[in-house]
Symmetry: C2
Subunit: 483 residues, 2 copies
């Protein structure tokens, strides 16, 4: 039923949650029943309020319980109705030669047709963004900057923005200062600088599997060998696999989306992050940590990052506001640790400096309390969406369908019956004006042909629900008697 | 006296100008004498008004004549007082191992000290930019764009901006359409995408000598072999040298700043451009044409580009508004010819899309007549500055000093007595709060140690004149009895 059993013993909040989950499974607690207050959980288990909340958030994210304002937590769902989580991936050996074609097809379809229901873009819809306040920040930036922001900026990037990024990163306790940070044109641009600064054609790198296609195609374009490792939809890359690969292969570096990975939605537990950093330190290998979803958590606190545990400066921590504020501003950053000079050179050579105005507008926005307010709303909306999507999949998709249970981010990973070819399903969906991301987009190997990624970063409405219903019906059509 | 004699016979306007230059040289025409009206030139030589104007612009740019409003043209200067133009460069074989250090030193000095007189940055001072109107364009862009410009844009870039770039490029008759153009984060970013899309480490490329240091360090960072070829301060790269190198070496591509090159200020005559394109077509080799100064001409018309004569799609034409509107906006472009798909992929992989707002603001500005108005003023200011700088050098620098006579752009190339070491001169200048660019910044070889580049893209005032006087005094201090 539940793949987290083996790690539950490591975490107090998971143990508490497991206790309630068992009661719900055994029908001791039934739909509609009220759960103990947070305060009584604290007393009963002798834990902090935070741990108690984490336990409830965990149950909530599994749609087992739900909170009602000014009232408390209630059992919301029978777990039997809820889809299972996919198993840890097992990358194979057959090549996926169509990656580039598939990505291009999905991109083009989406752009050619404005009527499309977009379930394939991992980004927030404009309705979820604080547009008016951002505009104000931009106008202020224009007024305040010397020469109205038309002059070249220092190559390391706006000092004001770097200070704000350092301030925000305190939530993950990495102890960064503005001097540690270099601004970039989005997070993928940060990853690109890191990758080109640190590798030569022919080098081997480690990634998760499935993994964001942008990382795959960039690695391929600079001639790298990509090793995809088994990854758990809840806890991220399998550390045993990392360990073994580092011992048996000559690896140049690792790239991980440590928090709410794309497309799995996995979040490495703190202990895994610490262990991962130990491993790279032991082998003296850099880790590019793509942490662009870290602020979009559904739990009580921002998860830590691998950078939090980095003593050696081997972790290059990358982020952006593309998933939380303004994709089109192209504002991202990197804290490159010991590789700072190399990364700055890459930036200098490729573009001299960042666009001054957009950075400054973001800095202005972060300086106020607006960002936290906005993030709170954004997280609530996305968490709600993830639950609604999961329920709709449970209602409309074939019974055997498994769905990831992300604790943050924008995407669900849906694994269906092996007989369902999602490239074919994609074609049928697009004819119904629904855009999804087929599983083959996230691997250089022949796998995930029965998987899709669904993005829930849009406003939930009847049209979205109808789209999921149509997707489910298409999926069922591949199975005998629509099972 | 004059190095253009050999090419003068090729160009009607140069022949007319030569005629007057001879008369001035022989004291037939003397300082203060009035020249024939443009109309009488047209009648006398049976040429168009444009050709007549070109002849006078040419003489004006050499400070031989000057125009007085509502009155006409007058002999302004004795050529004997005016510095000679440097000879064609002769790249040698000794390595310049300090390139990176020198660039970094110059950058850092400039940024550490706000009191510095900046004669080392090839960009327009804010006073020369239409800031208020640009701000309006930006605010309009924010209002008009869907989601206020926060959404990801099509990877090829703003259609509105691409249409405007195509429209403007009609001035050089290259027949480009919006579909031919890809937007980038500045011109160097365009060159970077072209270079990484088309080369592998170990490939050889051809460049001018001296050449913009940004091209050198980028080429080095991706592991290319750089072949610097002899370049004439008036007419650009020597075509004989190009021809010979293409015949004897395996060359992957060429990079040229065809119009008002940096640092020489040379402008390839139309015939040279045509011949250059013939050469690359014969050898089937791409040409990256860095044309970011083309709109800042001092003559009557925008010079054509190599792209104008490109039938095969081998020319990748790059430009930006960094030298004319807003360096800090990071808005540039490339028309990559037959390599469009490759360049688009580079952009997609490295940054997904451009910043939406700054592109749109520039598009809005270009749509009005404002850009042409602004350019006219900018050109006048820069042309005036170039003459004032030349005169000051003639007044204050050692007599043997040679200076380029750019027909556009932002920079003068100053060649001094061989005994003057400009790295040492740089150190002394910076102690006087004057920043210049030493010659060694523009080569991977041990040459130009007696040269400096001076940027005249600033507002001329007494402080600037005093700085040039100080520079001249420092230069004289290296010579016996301050010759």
């Amino acid at each position: 039923m539940e793949t987290t059993t083996d790690i539950a013993s490591d975490f107090l909040y998971l143990r508490i949650a497991k206790n309630f989950e068992d009661q719900i499974l055994k029908n001791v607690l039934r739909i509609g029943d009220k759960l103990p207050s947070l305060r009584s959980i604290c007393r009963q288990y002798e834990v902090s309020q935070t741990t108690a909340m984490q336990a409830y958030y965990h149950l909530e994210s599994k749609s087992l319980i739900e909170s009602r304002p000014q009232s408390g937590y209630y059992v919301s769902n029978s777990p039997k109705r809820f889809p299972m989580v996919p198993q840890t991936s097992k990358p194979g050996h057959l090549d996926n030669n169509n990656l580039e074609d598939i990505i291009t097809t999905v991109h083009n379809h989406r752009q050619e047709n404005s009527k499309i229901i977009n379930l394939s873009l991992s980004a927030p819809a404009p309705e979820l963004l604080p547009l008016a306040k951002l505009n104000k920040s931009m106008i202020n930036a224009m007024r305040q900057l010397p020469a109205n922001g038309t002059s070249y900026e220092h190559v390391q990037g706006s000092e004001r923005l770097r200070r704000q990024i350092a301030r925000w990163s305190h939530n993950m306790e990495a102890g960064l200062t503005d001097g540690d940070i270099v601004t970039t044109a989005g997070c993928i641009n940060a990853v690109a600088y890191a990758l080109t600064a640190l590798t030569q054609p022919g080098d081997s790198i480690i990634v998760e599997s499935p993994v964001y296609f942008g990382i795959l195609r960039m690695a391929k374009s600079v001639g790298l060998r990509v090793i995809e490792l088994p990854t758990n939809p809840q806890t991220g890359i399998e550390l045993e696999a990392v360990k073994k690969t580092l011992e048996t292969h000559k690896i140049k570096l690792c790239i991980l989306v440590s928090n709410f990975s794309n497309p799995l939605g996995s979040c490495m537990p703190e202990e895994h992050k610490r262990e991962m950093v130990n491993l790279i330190q032991k082998h003296n290998i850099p880790l590019i940590e793509d942490d662009l979803y870290g602020d979009v958590y559904f739990g009580a606190n921002r998860p830590k990052s691998c950078k939090t545990f980095d003593q050696s400066g081997l972790v290059l921590w990358c982020g952006s506001v593309s998933k939380t504020l303004a994709p089109g501003y192209r504002v991202g950053w990197i804290a490159p640790g010991q590789f700072k000079d190399l990364v700055i050179k890459q930036k200098l050579y490729n573009t001299v400096s960042s666009a001054t105005l957009t950075q400054e507008a973001v800095a202005g926005f972060l300086e106020t309390g607006r960002y936290e307010n906005h993030l709170r709303k954004l997280r609530q909306a996305l968490h709600g969406n993830s639950l609604k999507f999961s329920r709709a999949i449970s209602d409309y998709f074939p019974e055997s369908t498994k769905v990831s249970r992300p604790q943050g981010g924008f995407v669900l990973w849906v694994e269906m019956d092996k007989r369902i070819n999602t490239l074919d399903l994609y074609e049928k969906a697009i004819r119904n004006n629904i855009s999804i991301a087929p599983g083959l987009m996230f691997t250089l190997q022949k796998q995930f042909t029965n998987c899709i990624r669904l993005s829930f970063g849009i406003t939930w409405n009847e049209e979205v629900e109808r789209s999921l219903k149509i997707l489910g019906a298409i999926a069922k059509s591949y199975l005998p008697s629509g099972a």
